[in-house]
């Protein structure tokens, strides 16, 4: 059954390619180079021009105020790093198992809340300074050691990984291949999770405290400062995770099996590999990445109801842009989304008219633009 679905969707991609070629050639009598490559279809030319215009626009802004441009760019990069961490788990699970885990945002938020809970209950009594424990006015004198951040991070990440495996084993394992049903199941789970988290942790925005020993900000060449945690820790963590995942996928036996499984699941299991174990492992890693992202995001941004939706949407957009199941695609997609978000929030001011309210339209345009040219995303391949 799944094979017929695969072949038909594969056929579709080829057909749409042909169709666009046919459309471009109908008007022109003989244009073999257009038909053969369809490399310079009007759509693509329009897209290239648009990207060029955006680059020129940004370059002008950078020349205008370099310090500000650097801050905005770093902002975008740190957002992109966070998006990548979360979305890479999402895309890993999808790539291998064709499961769209709609509860991914819930796992993200739960990871953050768990870490916060641990930090508060384990480390709160540690008073710092001269024992002036009174922190009435919001200035928190509590000193958090490195362990007060790292330990909750590790424990929460592992717990979320285990929860992910449990979800997969209990709810998803026995209806493999029914992708729509699995998506509905994970939606139901995300509804329950969201409500339970609201009951347990309340609706107030909270955040995880980074270690007190870490500096608040780093100084940039332009003379302005930028948050140390955002700029160094989050981006560094994302690079490390990207590298780690790349090594895992490309260099280990497990990675080989995963890559083979992405291409042909049935063949892998026919070769005597316990594919269920591989699936459980992928779900473990994928969920862990969501939980890890939750702790990073809870420290960098905040934790509150609605963040689960927001990060589900971000993950969706990242993988739709980058192509489902592709790690490189997730990186490119996260970069595109993060930078576009950051630039659109600041630079949509033309003369006197402030259009930053409409910044979400730019994100939408990014999504539509990519889908118009590549229906399966930049690095997407037919299922």
């Amino acid at each position: 059954m799944s094979e017929t679905v695969d072949s038909s969707s594969g056929g579709e991609v080829r057909d749409t390619g042909d169709a666009s070629a046919r459309v471009t050639t109908t008007g022109v009598i003989a244009a073999p180079e257009v038909a053969s490559g369809s490399r310079w279809s009007p759509k693509r030319i329009a897209l290239v021009l648009l990207v060029a215009a955006v680059v020129v626009f940004l370059a002008a802004k950078a020349a205008d105020d370099l310090g500000r441009f650097l801050v905005v760019t770093l902002n975008g990069l740190s957002l992109a790093a966070l998006f990548f961490v979360v979305a890479s788990g999402f895309t890993l699970i999808f790539g291998l198992m064709r499961v769209v885990n709609m509860a991914h945002g819930s796992l993200y938020l739960l990871g953050g809340y768990l870490a916060l809970q641990m930090q508060e209950s384990w480390y709160q009594p540690e008073e710092g300074g001269g024992g002036l424990g009174l922190s009435l006015g919001g200035t928190d004198d509590t000193v958090y050691s490195l362990a007060a951040w790292v330990l909750p991070l590790i424990v929460a990440t592992v717990i979320i990984g285990v929860i992910g495996v449990l979800l997969q084993q209990v709810f998803l394992r026995w209806n493999q291949g029914q992708d729509l049903r699995q998506a509905l199941i994970t939606i139901a789970i995300s509804v329950i999770f969201a409500d339970q988290m609201l009951a347990e942790f309340g609706g107030i925005s909270k955040d995880i405290k980074p270690p007190t020993a870490w500096p608040d900000s780093i100084s940039l060449p332009g003379g302005s400062g930028f948050g140390f945690f955002r700029g160094v820790v989050v981006i560094g963590a994302a690079l490390a995770i990207g590298l780690g995942l790349w090594l895992l996928i490309k260099r280990t036996r497990y990675g080989k099996i995963v890559r083979a499984g992405v291409d042909d699941r049935d063949m892998v299991s026919a070769l005597g590999i316990n594919v269920q174990l591989v699936f459980a492992g992928a779900f473990f890693i994928g969920a862990m990445l969501a939980g890890f992202g939750g702790v990073l995001g809870g420290t960098m941004l905040s934790l509150q109801p609605g963040e689960d939706t927001s990060f589900l949407l971000n993950s969706l957009i990242v993988v739709i842009i980058g192509g489902m199941g592709s790690l490189g695609g997730a990186a490119i997609g996260a970069l595109a989304l993060g930078l576009v978000d950051a630039y659109a929030d600041v630079y949509l001011v033309f003369g006197g008219t402030d259009l930053t309210n409409y910044s979400i339209l730019v994100t939408f345009a990014l999504l539509v633009g990519v889908l118009a040219v590549r229906p399966l995303g930049l690095f997407g391949r037919p299922a």
Partner: protein, 359 residues
């Protein structure tokens, strides 16, 4: 792949339901609260769910963009008439109604243009992204809505004040629901509807036969957008306000839950699911056991999530599917195993599958 059954309920059953529904306002034990709070809401939520079910049953596309489209239409209406907040353009409500439906449909066609090229789970994800983007758009753009939304929206004169007399609005939504149901059923029998079902089952073959698969999907999406836009305007008429919070992901999922509870493969399921949802919503608080913080009157979403989960796990056809398999089994037992279950006969132009159930 999925248990598609687009056989039809009998005309008589539909007529009975409509007559019973029409008599509701004069039935002695039906309170005004029940009429307004449950039945009217059931009808317009059912219309929204019907647009989703139409796409899923006849087009094989589970779309989560329907709430986005109904949000666009609702916001368009609320902004065009006299209201508190938004742009308050103070148009004639009828003109605003037409404009809102046109805007919603145009948005739907635009979404369809992009999304129709993808299939299955990709389609679900892209439409979900659309819907959430619409929500963020209206939360950000304070000129159109902003956090507080648009309040005290003007209604067409004949509706009076639904807060005092809910009957005119009830009949309006009832008429709209019946028209939507009949229209969608009628469309499923046209050449377009039949082609659409062909596209649902065998896109590759339909393409080989020369049908433009993408265009059919897009048109179906546009058609569903009309229905969703109607639901959007009705929701504004019912609530007299629209906020970004009422078109967020939770609402998107609620409409999906309604469609799944009712049954993703039958149009009637939309209203069955909506009624079940509204009844659970209103009465579950009385009997939900309190288990600490985990379950209780406050935790409606947990309860509805569990119900949703159970239905997805147990009966992909929803309540209508359960009913069908139950009656099908009963009929087969009565006829000594001779009768074919109706769910196998997909909607064709000929034949009257109702004949079996009447009698």
């Amino acid at each position: 792949m999925t248990p598609v059954s687009t056989g039809r309920a009998s005309w008589i059953a539909v007529a009975v339901v409509v007559v019973v529904a029409a008599l509701m306002p004069v039935t002695p034990f039906i309170t005004e609260y029940f009429l307004s709070q449950i039945l009217t809401q059931t009808l317009w939520l059912g219309i929204a769910a019907a647009s989703l079910i139409f796409l899923s049953a006849y087009g094989g596309m589970v779309s989560l963009a329907q709430v986005g489209i109904y949000g666009i239409a609702g916001m368009a209406y609320a902004n065009l008439v006299l209201a508190d907040g938004g742009s308050a353009a103070a148009w004639n409500p009828w003109l605003a109604l037409v404009a809102a439906i046109l805007i919603g449909t145009a948005a739907g066609l635009g979404f369809g243009l992009i999304a129709a090229r993808s299939e299955g789970i990709y389609f679900l994800m892209i439409t979900l992204a659309f819907s959430v983007l619409v929500f963020y758009f209206f939360s950000q753009v304070t000129q159109l809505a902003g956090f507080g939304g648009v309040n005290s929206v003007e209604l067409p004169g004949f509706l009076g004040n639904p807060g005092q007399d809910p009957v005119p609005l009830y009949y309006t939504t009832l008429v709209a629901a019946v028209l939507v149901f009949l229209a969608l059923r009628g469309i499923s029998r046209t050449a377009f509807g039949l082609t659409l079902q062909g596209v649902r089952d065998e896109p590759a073959r339909m393409r080989a036969l020369g049908f433009d698969v993408t265009r059919h999907r897009m048109l179906a999406f546009g058609l569903a957008a009309v229905i969703a836009a109607i639901a959007g305007v009705l929701s504004v008429w019912y609530n007299r306000r629209i906020t970004p919070g009422s078109i967020n992901l939770a609402q998107t999922i609620d409409i999906l839950i309604i469609a799944v509870i009712g049954g993703l493969y039958r149009l009637e399921g939309a209203w069955v699911g909506a009624l079940a949802y509204m009844l659970i919503d209103n009465y579950s608080r009385d009997w939900t056991p309190s288990i600490g913080n985990v379950l209780g009157p406050e935790r409606f979403n947990t309860l509805i999530g569990i119900v949703f989960l159970i239905i997805v796990l147990a009966s992909p056809g929803g309540l209508v599917g359960l009913w069908e398999s139950a009656t099908g089994r009963l009929r087969r037992r009565r006829q000594g195993g001779g009768g074919t279950p109706r769910s196998t006969s997909t909607a064709g132009p000929e034949g009257d599958p109702a004949a079996g159930t009447v009698k």
